[in-house]
């Protein structure tokens, strides 16, 4: 019995989950299925691989697009961490309660036997904390030592071990001070920070990566018979049927077709460009791209592992490896601090042995406790956690906390055009009626009714205009002409056509504006309406660009598109651009910039952006980006907006400030307290109190990051409040992510940019 995870990204709500559940109910080959709506995954227990394929087919039949996901052990780790946190929290409550009695007793001369009893009680509660809850720190420290690097886990582990060992000795021998309270509180607070961090990243741990970018099954044609086979079963030379609207399963070439109608391919996911490519027979086809036209036969030229999409992803992995490692500031401190503290404690002990042997242990202990790097090790994570929480509320998720450090150095932002600066899918910009007979809305409704028979990207633009009621369409004899349009007949037997100019019998109008394309509607022979479609610039793009420029960062548009089209978009936004770029030249542009000492952030959405994203110092992806891109990006913009990017830089700067204050405070505290402790002026309990206070101050200072944002209402940007219609997509994401999410963000907006292009 094995467990497989299937990810169903279009399962958004409980109703969808119910549908999926019903589709699975008929299968008897699976033992158990568990649907996780938050992660949009289904976990099934099954006997053999065939049953997984059955499940995929059943879910697909229910109208969803399932993909096999790798089963991650992330959930298991998360649970472990939550358990450790819970145990530490419960123990901390008990130990602190006892500690208060002990503090009071120290002033009020507590009876020694009672004190001893309370020490043993604390020991009892602190033991599970050290042996179970604090294990991640010990593991981290050991792993660090094995790699011969001093991580912040090492001082934490050292302090915990020392404080516990000394307290244990004091409890058993009945002499000296105990520090169980410090041990448990320290562990609890650090585990809190760690738990919040992993939780933030959890949703975006997309392990399915490649698998989700490719279809699961392909139609292999053998002896005129269509067989549905797994992708891995395809071999070079296999003849494959690619139905209309399906993804191409492997790299290959188109077969010669007697009708000579060209094949239309939507390569947007590979190249990021929305324009369909017309392919003659024998032309190269790439796995993962979409068949936008008629169905056709192709020959596989390679196995799926050798396809271009896989090699792009490998290129990205390699680029990632060559990344210059930015080591965390706190780790650098740890490298100096830990040996120094240990030496100092040793020196204190030796000196006191000669001066006053009775004080030697107490003084050395005070040094260790007072220098316990609580505040120091909390300084960075507390600030980072607060900043990441705030950013998440603003719709920015960081998959890597180093981003906040790297963002400080960024001086250039490269932004992909199609799908990033503009909306990923075309939408209807205007409707022009060509006769007096029908109103605009009537024309839109008729066109939308016809378009529901195809799943082309263009047809999707008409979806918002389809009648909301579920009543069946009154059209009959509907025919889809691939790459041209759709035809249907009204009940009165009038022919209705929607499609290209040629399809409705018009001469192709010279394109006034290259970023736009036209779709026509014709009744019988008479064209009655013209729809203008384009990928609109995101409503907040101008505000975001201006805000970034205001922060001294230069945004540059990168695109594989035609220079003239790029110029139009770039002019509307007021930025520079590089047109007709391939993934390789994009990467080269970034490398050039980096060679000159620049630091680059790249924002993208398509698979072709992956090498560039990996090569950039910081990579960001918009919410509509393909899963593979999102899984590789450091930053995810969840609100379908670009302004949060500016927030990221603002918050990165503030985080830097707060971290510096925290570190300064922690260092100042340690520098004053350590000499006092070494000189024997500080009994260990005062040392512990001081340590706790310094940690609390660090936490309070960090919590300032939870409030405040970049103010977009500054004079040059005051262009009114947000009127942008959030897409359903962004709503969905914000809703999923948290209830208090996004809505409180000051939503800046430019005036509708549509008019400008």
């Amino acid at each position: 019995m094995t467990v497989s995870a299937i990810s169903v990204q279009d399962m958004h709500c409980a109703v969808c989950a119910q549908k999926v559940r019903r589709s699975l109910a008929t299968l008897c080959s699976i033992k158990n299925a568990h649907i996780n709506l938050v992660r949009r995954q289904i976990y099934i227990e099954h006997q053999d691989n065939q049953s997984v394929l059955d499940v995929l087919a059943a879910i697909e039949a229910a109208g969803f697009t399932p993909t096999l996901a790798e089963l991650s052990n992330h959930d298991q780790e998360q649970r472990q961490l939550l358990k450790r946190l819970g145990i530490a929290g419960l123990a901390a409550m008990q130990v602190m309660m006892v500690a208060i009695a002990l503090y009071a007793g120290a002033m009020d001369r507590m009876a020694p036997d009672v004190q001893r009893l309370l020490h043993f009680t604390s020991l009892l509660f602190a033991t599970p904390v050290i042996c179970y809850a604090a294990v991640p720190f010990f593991r981290g420290a050991l792993a660090g030592l094995k790699k011969r690097s001093l991580t912040m886990d090492l001082p934490v582990a050292t302090a915990l071990t020392m404080a516990f060992a000394i307290s244990l000795h004091a409890t058993v021998s009945g002499q000296g001070e105990v520090y169980f309270d410090s041990v448990v509180m320290f562990t609890f607070l650090l585990l809190c920070a760690r738990y919040i961090n992993t939780r933030l990243q959890r949703r975006f741990d997309l392990s399915s990566k490649l698998l989700s970018a490719l279809p699961q099954r392909a139609w292999r044609v053998k002896n005129h018979e269509h067989q549905s086979v797994a992708l891995q079963a395809l071999n070079p030379g296999d003849r494959i049927w690619v139905p209309e609207g399906a993804q191409i399963p492997v790299d290959g070439t188109a077969e010669h077709d007697p009708s000579n109608t060209p094949i239309l391919i939507d390569e947007a996911m590979l190249t990021g460009e929305s324009e369909w490519v017309s392919k003659p027979s024998q032309a190269a086809l790439y796995a993962g791209t979409l068949n936008a036209g008629r169905g056709f036969f192709m020959r596989a030229s390679s196995r799926v592992e050798q396809s271009r999409i896989v090699s792009i992803s490998r290129l990205a992995d390699k680029t990632e490896l060559s990344h210059t490692r930015v080591s965390q500031f706190s780790d650098k401190i740890a490298g100096v601090f830990i040996p120094a503290v240990l030496t100092l404690a040793g020196v204190t002990f030796v000196v006191w042995r000669f001066v006053e042997p009775a004080n030697a242990v107490t003084a050395a202990l005070s040094v260790l406790v007072v220098s316990c790097p609580c505040a120091l090790s909390l300084a960075t994570p507390a600030a980072l956690t607060a900043a990441m929480t705030r950013l998440r509320q603003l719709g920015v998720v960081l998959t890597n906390s180093l981003v906040l450090e790297r963002a400080l150095t960024i001086d250039r932002i490269y932004i992909d055009k199609t799908g990033t600066l503009t909306h990923p899918e075309p939408s209807i910009q205007s409707t022009r009626t060509l006769t007096e007979t029908f109103s605009q809305s009537q024309c839109l409704a008729m066109a939308a009714d016809l378009q529901r028979y195809t799943s082309h990207p263009i047809a999707r633009a008409f979806r918002p205009y389809q009648s909301q009621t579920d009543q069946p369409s009154t059209l009959t004899k509907v025919t889809v002409y691939s790459g041209q349009g759709v035809e249907g007949f009204t009940p009165e037997n009038h022919r209705l056509r929607v499609g290209s100019a040629a399809f409705v019998g018009l001469a192709e109008e010279s394109a006034r504006n290259l970023n736009h394309r036209w779709v026509y509607l014709a009744l019988d022979q008479q064209p009655i309406a013209q729809f203008e479609l384009s990928n609109a610039i995101r409503p907040d793009a101008v505000a975001a660009i201006q805000a970034l420029q205001g922060l001294g960062i230069q945004p540059i548009m990168l695109s594989g598109d035609h220079p003239q089209r790029c110029a139009e978009t770039a002019d509307a936004l007021g930025i520079e651009f590089l047109a007709q770029q391939s993934p390789e030249t994009k990467l080269a542009a970034i490398r050039r910039e980096q060679a000159l000492g620049g630091h680059v952030l790249m924002v993208g959405d398509g698979i072709n952006d992956i090498p560039v994203l990996a090569g950039a110092d910081v990579s960001a992806a918009v919410v509509e980006a393909t899963e593979l891109v999102k899984s590789k990006a450091d930053v995810l913009l969840l609100n379908a907006k670009l302004t949060p990017l500016a927030q990221l830089f603002h918050i990165a700067h503030r985080t830097h400030q707060v971290t510096r204050q925290n570190l300064l405070w922690a260092a100042a505290y340690n520098l004053t307290a350590i000499p006092l402790a070494a000189a024997g002026f500080m009994p260990p309990w005062i040392a512990a109190l001081g340590m706790a206070t310094s940690s609390v101050l660090v936490m309070i200072n960090s919590s300032r990051l939870l409030k405040g944002t970049l103010n977009f209402d500054a004079p040059p940007l005051s262009q009114g409040r947000n009127q942008a219609s959030k897409s359903n997509e962004s709503e969905r994401f914000t809703n999923d992510l948290g209830r208090n999410n996004g809505s409180d963000a000051p939503a800046p907006d430019a005036k509708t940019v549509r008019g400008l292009i």
Partner: protein, 50 residues
């Protein structure tokens, strides 16, 4: 002060119980999908626990 010798073991037992319950709750997905019951109203049939 003798009462402590009774109260402390009681608190230890209660604590162990609380920790055990917490571990059980985590292991049984009690914190997994906190909105589940809000979604339950969409479910048409009950008892079907696929």
């Amino acid at each position: 002060m003798e009462i402590l010798t009774l109260l402390i073991p009681i608190s230890v037992i209660l604590m162990a119980f609380a920790a055990g319950m917490f571990a059980w709750a985590v292991d049984n997905d009690q914190f997994e999908h906190l909105d589940k019951h809000a979604f339950d109203i969409f479910e048409e049939d009950s008892g079907d626990n696929l």
